[in-house]
């Protein structure tokens, strides 16, 4: 279970493929620590860390949703819609019983995801194209429910989800950790997980050795919708709001977390552990910016640079490019060129 960063063109990091992800968490936590300490507050006072982990709780499952489709070599843009739709349904249906709201939200979104996944698998569609349609459909549904259904978020939910456990955790963040662990174990230790990775890494070979690719694709899109909607439910319950249009922010968090997490866009690489690391490190970054009240120009520039580094580091032709610079006649003094000249 390597990663983009572990298997990139520079060929660094073989022993412990998840090292870069763990390092990212450590670095971000250190950054968070320094920023908070510089601000004069106690970094480990609990409230600060717990605050950061709340970001993880709200967006972590979104990242996992996107991540599993990417490990399978697909890309689910509609997760942005199911995130909003899940939160909306939960808030509307769950005004009297929040648990019911959550269940209905996840069930509806999974059904949608399965349908979308079925079309993608059946017609061998490009998932990035179709899920733009899925995004619009779910976003439309979300707005329609908002307009036509009465109901407000249950005020009892947020304190419960954010109740302090062991100073820094909350039921929400622990729940999200638990799901990551389940997903990680499933991917690493079951034969289904093995088949899943095979299909993500080599779709054609997987079909050739008779793996049920279509079934896995369908189910994965169902799962990604379920996870994204669950993320939306948690977001809505903790913030006691329902979003008609979440904008791109959660999506960008998820994409960034997944890529820092070592998932390759071409599929077959990455694991929930890495995605969790990516989401955690971003959460600390968010936390650092929040506690220091950083201006958006600084935070945006930092996110941008971070992504740029990830993109360049994982670029397949980076090594070739560096090599071609080194091989450029300017840097060479051997005879061959003199002959040519």
């Amino acid at each position: 279970m390597g990663s983009v960063v572990g298997k990139n063109s520079l060929g660094v990091v073989r022993r412990w493929p998840e090292l870069p992800q763990v390092a990212a968490v450590v670095v971000m936590f250190a950054f968070f620590w320094i920023m908070t300490a510089a601000k004069g507050t106690t970094p480990f006072s609990g409230a600060n860390v717990a605050n950061s982990l709340n970001y993880f709780g709200e967006y972590g499952l979104f990242a996992l949703a996107l991540g599993i489709t990417m490990i399978l070599g697909e890309f689910d843009i509609s997760t942005l819609g199911t995130f909003a739709l899940g939160g909306m349904i939960a808030v509307k249906v769950g005004s009297t019983n929040p648990w019911l709201g959550a269940v209905v939200a996840v069930a509806c979104c999974s059904a949608f995801g399965l349908g979308q996944g079925y079309i993608i698998a059946k017609f061998r569609m490009n998932s990035m194209t179709l899920t733009v349609g899925g995004y619009l459909i779910t976003l439309g549904l979300c707005g329609a429910i908002n307009k036509n259904v009465q109901g407000n978020g249950n005020a009892n939910i947020p304190p419960f989800l954010q109740k302090e456990i062991l100073t820094i955790f909350s039921p929400m963040s622990l729940f999200v950790f638990a799901i990551f662990i389940v997903a990680g174990v499933a991917l690493k230790y079951t034969s289904m997980g093995r088949k899943f990775l095979a299909m993500g890494g080599a779709r054609k070979s997987s079909r050739a050795i008779g793996l049920p690719v279509n079934r896995y694709v369908t189910v994965t899109f169902g799962l990604s919708a379920a996870l994204a909607s669950l993320s939306g439910v948690l977001y809505s319950y903790t913030t006691a709001t329902s979003l008609v249009d979440p904008g791109l922010t959660p999506f960008l968090f998820a994409v960034t977390a997944v890529l820092i997490g070592g998932v390759s866009l071409s599929g077959g690489r990455g694991a929930p552990f890495g995605i969790a690391c990516g989401a955690l490190s971003l959460s600390f970054l968010y936390g650092a910016f929040q506690t220091t009240a950083a201006t958006p120009d600084i935070s945006d520039t930092v996110y941008g640079l971070l992504l740029l580094i990830v993109a360049i580091w994982s670029a397949p032709s980076l090594k070739e490019w560096l090599g071609s610079i080194a091989a450029h006649p300017i840097f060479r003094s051997d005879k061959e060129n003199k002959v040519a000249a």
């Binding site: 349609g133 899925g134 976003l139 329609a144 930092v302 740029l308």
Partner: protein
């Protein structure tokens, strides 16, 4: 030894015409029919003012979408930061428009070309992923813009400068941005069809490996496609800023452009499609929303229907492609 049998070739023209009708054409006719029928049963829909409205709301979106189409055609999907670039360059335009509209436009176009050219270099030369690069570029542009504008996030049109206001006027009931859209489509199509680089964009998009083997400079073509995209998006930014007279909120151009491209039927994998298709995609979306507004539907329903239409279009395109091979 051909797949097309001699009988097929020598058959009557009607029969061969029927055989040539593709699923896409049937679907296109069906969609057009539905749109026209619903338009006809909508009160006052077929009126000059409605159509002016449809055109006027689609000009800037279409130009952004046309820009992104260059990337799509070259096999580089799309950008996820078109909205940011429109906003940031719009701000910049209002800041410098007192130099006079034409120098200002030229500078903005140049900036757009540079911003996208750099992204094109990263994608074309290093093989970096276009989605990540475009998101990163979006954050960076936003960061830089926020830094430059300081504590003042909203930038208003400079007071007393009127030299560029012709960019927001209507001519014959049609906004300047719509005429500009037609201009961009014509120039863009000429570039794609009549120049070496333009035709090579299609070749690279259709089969990158083949283009490379055929000795086409794939990296250069990728950068050219990005630069073309940057110029179009920058132009849209000047139009947007001139029209709204302020620049402080991002529009939804990123997704609107993708929707227009996909509904127009340009293949997201590259090589197939055109700028005209994208323009029609934008016009269909605008027609649809105008019609639904007049029939009393709210925004969410419009978005939902747009999504269904997009689902239909991409599935039909895919079935058509599979049917051919």
């Amino acid at each position: 030894m051909t797949v097309i049998t001699p009988t097929a070739e020598s058959s009557t023209s009607i029969a061969s015409f029927v055989r040539k009708i593709s699923l896409v054409q049937i679907a296109a006719v069906a969609v057009a029919a539905v749109l026209i029928i619903f338009g006809a049963i909508t009160n006052n829909f077929f009126s000059l003012s409605t159509f002016q409205g449809i055109l006027n709301t689609s000009g800037i979106i279409a130009i952004v979408a046309i820009g992104v189409t260059f990337m799509t055609l070259s096999g580089n999907l799309f950008t996820l930061s078109a909205s940011v670039t429109v906003l940031v360059l719009g701000q910049a335009f209002l800041e410098i428009v007192h130099f006079g509209p034409f120098p200002a436009i030229l500078i903005i176009l140049l900036l757009g070309a540079i911003i996208f050219g750099l992204q094109g270099w990263l994608v074309g030369r290093l093989g970096a992923n276009v989605i990540i690069i475009s998101v990163a570029a979006g954050f960076l542009q936003q960061g830089v813009a926020e830094y430059l504008s300081g504590s003042n996030p909203s930038i208003l049109a400079p007071a007393g400068v009127t030299s560029y206001l012709w960019m927001r006027n209507t001519y014959g009931g049609i906004l300047f941005s719509v005429w500009a859209m037609f201009g961009v489509v014509i120039l863009g199509e000429l570039f794609l069809r009549r120049t070496v680089a333009g035709r090579q964009i299609y070749l690279v998009g259709e089969n990158r490996a083949a283009a490379r083997t055929a000795g086409i400079n794939v990296k250069r073509i990728t950068i050219i496609a990005f630069v073309a995209a940057g110029i179009c998006i920058a132009f849209a930014a000047t139009l947007e800023a001139a029209y709204t007279q302020n620049a402080y909120s991002q529009g939804s151009y990123t997704f609107d452009a993708i929707v227009a491209i996909l509904i127009g039927g340009t293949s997201v994998l590259g090589g197939k499609g055109s700028l005209i298709r994208t323009m029609f995609g934008a016009l269909v979306v605008s027609y649809l929303s105008q019609m639904m507004v007049m029939r009393g539907y709210n925004t969410p329903t419009r978005v939902f229907v747009e999504g269904l239409l997009l689902f239909g279009v991409v599935v039909v395109m895919q079935l058509n492609d599979r049917g051919r091979s």
